[in-house]
């Protein structure tokens, strides 16, 4: 009796599992993924692009020796591992075997040397040249040891060198494609470049030989084609997503978030999370003036209600932080002392009076003409007014702002900077005395000494302690005030699954992005 029931029951159970379990549980291959982004390329030659457009487009086609994981920690990519000498001056990278460029040729150590050497040559006008130069990379000191091993020698120690070769900024392209006309980048990434039409779209197709697999060992990417549409205006991008003209948007206007959180639209999968771009307020130290007096700087720091500013900028989505790295990342320091976290207007006024500015003062403030930066400046202006400080805002476009910043012709400056995965590439470049990116002319010999030592420190614990001290000192000097991190607001349509980005909101990263996204019903998205 029992045996007569077992078989039919089992058959029914198996049939149910096959037919009733929704197809969303299985990754489906096929379809054309359309994504909307807020930048367009200036050229299809990825060896010559830089900035945000490069970070969005290039990683889909090409990769670096290392990549970033979900928390923006460095993980192997085209290099399986690397050895660092005791003096942190010699780095030996072991190239992953069997990785093919889109033209079918295998990636070798020689390609790594050729690509980086190409970037280092001035006449090639690569935007990466400065970065490699800054990192101490010279073509004369790159050696190919064998087919899959390449070695870099530096003049000064730099533990963070591997970070320089990341898949976000420093990809390895097939050397034969570096100067192709018309430009056609050939990399090892999940997608092959097909076509770029300025201000219209960039077309890519699946790389059938992509070396990375999903966690079940299945091939990536899942989609057949990828079309990237540059939709610069935020509202238009959001409407394009809503109408279904695109399936994923790399940035949706922050003012939409409160409503989305309250009443999540049925058609949308939101991707809202803490981000990594860090807000700052700089006080110029180069020329003589009130800001050279630490009491004035402390007064400004005390006057700010940082949480109110972050709430105003991010619609309540960000917390106050007094360091570059966001919570959850490797280089975030917990429990850093922060005497300026909450506003103290009384103390601010007292300090100003002590410094001889009881009647207040006016500060020339340069502001880049981006909406969120202007918002920040306006909020800062309103708060400092309460203590008698008048921020005279000079709004300017990127070119004028950059020129004025470099010439240091301002008292205060506001803005946000992008994420760098290692403290050397952020703290060193912006806080060491005389550094080109040290715009407020900050100088602290102890900070310089610590950072120089940390650059060559192989012991992770010791290095971490050094940078913690660096951040404490920077905060104590009150030349640059940190506020918090700009959240990431992305979204996809429900018919698209698993387009997950990392702490940087990258379209493509080590274990996710466009390569890991798939359609519930690919046949509807040809």
């Amino acid at each position: 009796m029992i045996s007569k029931l077992v078989l039919p029951t089992a058959a029914i159970a198996i049939a149910s599992a096959i037919f009733l379990v929704p197809s969303v549980m299985a990754q489906n291959y096929g379809g054309t993924l359309k994504i909307g982004v807020d930048v367009d390329l200036k050229t299809a030659n990825f060896a010559k692009t830089s900035g945000n457009s490069h970070a969005v487009y290039a990683p889909l086609v090409s990769e670096g020796l290392v990549n970033f994981d979900m928390k923006c920690n460095v993980v192997p990519a085209l290099a399986t591992h690397w050895d660092i000498s005791k003096d942190a001056k010699t780095f030996t990278f072991h190239i992953r075997k069997g990785v093919k460029f889109h033209n079918g040729r295998e990636l070798t150590a020689a390609d790594v040397k050729k690509t980086i050497s190409w970037h280092r040559k001035k006449k090639n006008r690569s935007k990466s040249r400065g970065r490699y130069k800054r990192g101490g990379v010279s073509s004369k000191r790159i050696k190919v040891l064998d087919r899959y091993t390449v070695q870099f020698k530096l003049k000064t120690p730099s533990v963070s060198l591997p970070v320089l070769f990341n898949s976000r900024k420093s990809q390895i392209l097939a050397p034969e494609s570096l100067t192709s006309k018309p430009p056609r980048p050939i990399g090892t990434g999940p997608f092959k470049f097909v076509e770029w039409k300025p201000r219209q779209y960039t077309k890519m197709v699946r790389n059938e030989h992509y070396w990375r697999k999903d966690k079940n060992g299945k091939k990536l990417p899942y989609v057949d084609k990828l079309i990237i549409k540059p939709i610069i205006d935020g509202s238009t991008r959001y409407l394009a997503l809503k109408s279904g003209d695109i399936h994923w948007a790399n940035s949706i206007p922050l003012d939409k978030i409160p409503n989305i959180k309250k009443n999540p639209p049925k058609w949308m999968t939101p991707g809202i999370k803490a981000g990594s771009r860090w807000w700052w307020f700089q006080m110029q130290q180069k020329h003589k003036g009130p800001l050279r007096d630490k009491r004035v700087r402390m007064a400004i720091a005390h006057a700010f209600d940082k949480q109110a500013i972050m709430d105003g900028l991010t619609w309540g989505m960000a917390s106050v932080e007094n360091q570059v790295f966001p919570p959850g990342t490797n280089w975030y320091f917990k429990n850093l002392p922060d005497p300026y976290k909450k506003a103290n207007v009384k103390k601010a006024k007292a300090l100003l009076a002590e410094a001889g500015f009881a009647k207040g003062l006016t500060l020339n403030t340069i502001v880049r003409n981006r909406t969120e930066v202007l918002n920040f400046a306006t909020l800062a202006q309103a708060q400092l007014k309460k203590v008698g400080i008048n921020l005279k805002l000079r709004v300017m476009d990127y070119g004028a702002h950059r020129k004025t910043t470099k010439k240091k012709k301002y008292d205060t400056n506001v803005g946000h900077y992008s994420f760098q995965p290692d403290p050397h590439w952020r703290y060193q470049t912006q806080f060491s005395t005389g550094a080109r990116s040290n715009n407020p002319a900050y100088s602290n010999k102890e900070v310089d000494k610590l950072m120089k030592k940390a650059a060559g420190e192989l012991d992770k614990k010791k290095r971490r302690a050094m940078y913690r001290k660096v951040v404490e000192l920077i905060n104590k000097d009150v030349v640059v005030l940190f506020f918090g991190h700009q959240p990431i607001a992305q979204a996809s349509r429900k018919e698209l699954k698993n387009f997950v980005t990392n702490c940087n909101g990258d379209t493509q990263w080590a274990y996710g992005g466009a390569s890991n996204a798939w359609f519930v019903n690919p046949s509807k998205h040809k």
Binding site: T43, Q200, I231, I232, D233, K242, G399, T404, R436
Partner: protein
């Protein structure tokens, strides 16, 4: 030996006058273009920041050596007048130079973007004429009635509504709530004209609405002026059908100032409309020139300004010729 008839003499004199007029306009064009280019060149160099400042972001670590290299490469280390003369010399030989940021010939970049601008300008003009001329004529014929007030209220709204807001509203209406048109983008395919028109409709309506508002008001006021004239009263008294009075006589005479306005608007539209291009992600020259200015892409901006100037002068020239057609009594001086 034949003697020319008075009619033939007048015809020959007119032809000679037109030829002199055309030659005069061509000769005046060159100094105008030089003046415009010099003015533009000066203004560009006065704006703080140069192409090298814009080329790099904070993470590119451009150093002093890099700056010197690029200054030399782009000729920015030379005195202002030398830079201008070198540029002018190349332009007179037909070489518009290379874009600093796109690293391609400017002529190629501009050529790529112009079809989209022409298409959009054409679409906007069609929309504006289709709405404005009938609305203006009806408002004039039925003066001080509901039709007149309705048409003029529409005209007021058309001028007052910001076109970026109208654009977003149209996208919401026709791409989301009644999804019959794409929300943004550009398609230009001879093989698939329907798809081309689909993408063109919303930006054309957005752009054409404000233009139609101005045109409708002008049509109404010109028509009212013509309707009040004696020849109209005479024609009506002679029993000429009203349709003929309005469309054959009155409207034709009212067209002269309307043509001027249309001509100026076409020239404006061909210069690109950055806001509509941004809202609809339309790859026209408007957004190109704004990006080029932000990027301090001196050669590209110069090339674009020159082309806009030529377009403006040429369109005005054709408008003058059209005057003559609309009103043969007008002499070209």
């Amino acid at each position: 030996m034949g003697v020319l008839s008075p009619v033939t003499c007048v015809k020959l004199q007119n032809e000679e006058r037109v030829q002199r007029y055309i030659l005069h306009r061509i000769l005046v064009l060159l100094p105008v273009l030089i003046l415009i280019s010099l003015f533009c060149f000066s203004m560009l160099h006065m704006i703080p920041g140069d192409p090298i400042d814009v080329m790099f972001d904070e993470d590119d670590f451009d150093d002093a050596e890099t700056r010197v290299f690029y200054e030399k490469l782009l000729g920015l280390d030379r005195p202002f007048h030398e830079q201008y003369i070198m540029w002018l010399g190349k332009v007179l030989q037909g070489d518009f130079g290379n874009s600093i940021h796109f690293d391609r010939p400017n002529a190629e970049i501009i050529w790529e973007r112009f079809p989209a601008t022409i298409l959009l300008a054409f679409g906007a003009i069609i929309v504006s004429i289709v709405i404005a001329i009938p609305a203006g004529v009806i408002a004039a014929i039925k003066r001080n009635t509901a039709a007149d007030h309705g048409a003029m209220t529409f005209a007021l709204l058309g001028i007052s509504i910001p076109n970026f807001w109208l654009g977003i509203l149209l996208i919401m209406a026709f791409s989301i709530y009644f999804p019959i048109l794409p929300s943004s983008g550009f398609e230009a395919s001879i093989a698939d004209p329907v798809e081309t028109i689909k993408y063109l409709i919303l930006p054309s309506i957005t752009l054409g609405t404000a233009l139609s508002a101005i045109l409708a008001r002008m049509t109404r006021s010109e028509m009212l002026e013509e309707i009040g004239k004696e020849y109209v009263r005479t024609a009506r008294a002679k029993g000429v059908p009203e349709r003929t009075v309005i469309f054959k006589h009155t409207l034709k005479n009212a067209m002269v100032p309307i043509l001027t306005l249309l001509g100026l608007q076409i020239a404006n539209l061909l210069g690109g409309t950055v806001i509509v291009e941004t809202v609809f992600q339309w790859p026209g020259v408007g957004s190109l020139v704004v990006d080029a200015i932000y990027g301090r892409d001196y050669p590209l901006v110069q090339a674009l300004i020159l082309i806009f100037a030529v377009i403006f002068v040429t369109v005005n020239f054709f408008v003058d010729i059209l005057y003559k057609w609309a009103n043969p009594r007008i002499t070209l001086e």
